[in-house]
Symmetry: C2
Subunit: 408 residues, 2 copies
């Protein structure tokens, strides 16, 4: 029979026209045989404590069947909210469970923040450069994006955040730059948040991946210094986001937001219509991961593995890329961020030349809400060994040379 | 130290003012000692195959560590997309994996549909009465809700759906009415969708809970009859939503959307910014649940348990409530829907009187997007045994008598 569609299907919402499809290009790239992919931000599967997690999964169901298999409260398992509050509390940062919302991944927390704060056309400020994956979560709200470059010395934080509903930052080893935002900058961000009324989102997936020593206090901790000392739970302007994804395993899709109770209540209302509650199974597993000290036992293994690979990548870049790129030394995280010396070099083009040479890197355009910055690339060092990283860099140098040749 | 907040925190998005807080009232009610709760829609925990699911959880991690613990593709595990496509395919309904998106619960599918179809102010039509939980998922998009009463004989389907981006329906044992939408009505819905261009959302959590015999073909199947017979995957106007929640366990938070590939692609873009991907662990567990035939082995147990309780609730209502309410016989699902004979009886008030008598029911206002319908109540029969149901009905009769007495 023939379709009897009298009217074309109703059109999609407007924001879908704005979205980029670089993720799809990456996924398609993953199918190319022989490709070395240094574009992603994936943990090396060899760090997963598979036996421990298999046992934890079974125990969670067997010991807590109603909780793991049934519906839970929207905010998250009481035990897990308590555990997160305890984990982040300090002498000056008083967190209670009402400061905590369990989310289905860090990405969901970003989506919920957009839902509760952004009306169409509202302004948000974002640390530049910023991973487009985060920006994607806010596109359905159709905000106005304002870039906020924390690396310049003359940034006026108050001006950057005035009129913005929130500022989005990744202070620890920002994706894509791998840069650690210094304590003084964090203090200025917190002060500007208090002064302007903008909420300060502190997204912290990479804080545990510090290869060279301790990191500054979080904006959350800094903001607690100014809180009233009356025993009440934290009520400041920071919305801190944590996740299991980089420290244990992304496949569990468990994250948490820490914020003032009024913000947690609003995020909870948004979560109710988003997925009702996070899986009781993955939440109970997270409790057991905390109790077993799995994060702490995995961390030295990851630091040794990833730190060594960082050094291997940087050494390979020293050998093959100094003619073409400048880069910063990343003290942590998963990435090296490099900028082309030749300003004519468009890294969207380099991405394509790279695929022909069987190497995949991330072009800088995906980290710019204006999609204008075209001279940078992001290189990942966590999932390939030193030998593969060396080969990837050689291929990238070849692709760069070929691209430059076309420019004459 | 004192807080130095110079400007109040930025305000929440406008839709948060519109939302109802009845869910919170229910959660608070859950803390009242001795309360019999017949308001929810929860499976009885005794039906969970705990040992089987504990083993499946451990096996999933042990056998598929990278898939369960790592990032997956946005659309879902290829094995699971294939399994869902195969499960719903018939001779005339040709589904390929590109017709399937795995979602983090059925609720997420509703959220994603709102994101991809609704600009602010767009119209959607919803089967009346409709569970407010579903409507909640669309509130952040600020649509115009249009009620569509499928129980009247004079509904003009084309008029109801003209200008709407989509129509939301629960044809099998609709929440809250427990009513089975007849085949002829389904055919009219599909025809109106084709004629008007509105997408037809067919939400089907309860289809497996049919106590008295077979159910009509789904709107998805009906719409496939009009599809071109050229071997291409389904491309019709129905967006079918399935979930594990009522048939196995809600705690896994796994659902699926089946739709035309263009719709699946749009939903995938929205899912990318919502949670990036559904947990690989709960997805692989779903594959194993399908393979082990757990749904099929659990179903007779659930039908016996819940069917018996439905009959017990109806018998108790016959004994105690005939003076006050009329109700329909539900052929399936989890609920009995009753309307007060006295039109002055406001069931929002009855909800409060009920709590005083230690019984919790759901008032009809939460099933009406206009929040105007005040004469109905929804009674659940799945989580309480016959004795508790009898006692709940006795308490409800007492509350009703007391409330009517106040009306003079």
């Amino acid at each position: 029979m023939q379709a009897s569609q009298a009217t074309p299907p109703a059109s999609f919402a407007g924001w879908l026209d704005d979205t980029n499809d670089i993720t799809r290009a990456f996924l398609a790239a993953g199918q190319i045989p022989g490709l070395i992919n240094i574009a992603g931000g994936l943990p090396d599967p060899q760090v997963y404590p598979v036996d421990a997690l298999a046992e934890i999964a079974a125990q969670s169901v067997a010991e807590f069947p109603n909780e793991t298999l049934g519906y839970g409260t929207i905010e998250g398992l009481p035990d897990l909210r308590r555990a997160v509050a305890a984990r982040y509390s300090t002498d000056s940062l008083r967190l209670s469970p009402e400061n905590v919302l369990i989310t289905t991944s860090g990405m969901q927390a970003l989506d919920l923040i957009g839902k509760v704060l952004l009306n169409e056309g509202d302004t948000m400020a974002g640390q530049f450069p910023t991973y487009l994956g985060a920006l994607d979560s806010w596109r359905p709200r159709r905000p106005h994006f304002r870039n906020m470059n924390l690396q310049t010395n003359d940034l006026d934080f108050v001006a950057a955040m005035t009129g913005a509903k929130f500022a989005y930052t990744v202070p620890n080893f920002s994706n894509p730059t791998g840069r650690l935002v210094p304590e003084q900058t964090r203090r200025e961000l917190v002060a500007a948040a208090r002064q302007t009324g903008a909420w300060l989102v502190e997204d912290d997936p990479y804080g545990g991946l510090s290869y060279d020593g301790p990191i500054p206090p979080s904006a959350l901790e800094i903001s607690a210094e100014d809180e009233p000392d009356d025993g009440s739970p934290y009520s400041g302007p920071v919305i801190y986001l944590g996740t299991l994804s980089k420290m244990v395993a992304p496949g569990l899709r468990v994250g948490w937001a820490i914020a003032a109770p009024e913000m947690i209540a609003a995020l909870t209302t948004a979560k109710q219509g988003s997925d009702l509650c996070t899986s009781g199974l993955t939440q109970r597993m997270t409790c057991k991961i905390f109790e077993a000290g799995l994060i702490e036992s995995m961390n030295p293994v990851m630091l040794r593995l990833y730190g060594g690979r960082r050094d291997a990548l940087l050494a390979a870049m020293d050998r093959h890329l100094t003619d073409f790129f400048d880069w910063q030394f990343p003290e942590g995280g998963m990435f090296v961020w490099a900028s082309a010396k030749d300003e004519r070099l468009n890294t969207d083009e380099l991405f394509k030349f790279g695929l022909e040479e069987l190497v995949c890197v991330t072009p800088s355009s995906v980290f710019d809400s204006q999609e204008e910055f075209r001279r940078g690339i992001r290189l990942n060092f966590t999932i390939n060994d030193a030998e593969a990283l060396e080969e990837a860099v050689i291929r990238l140098a070849r692709a760069t040379r070929r691209l430059l040749a076309t420019l004459g």
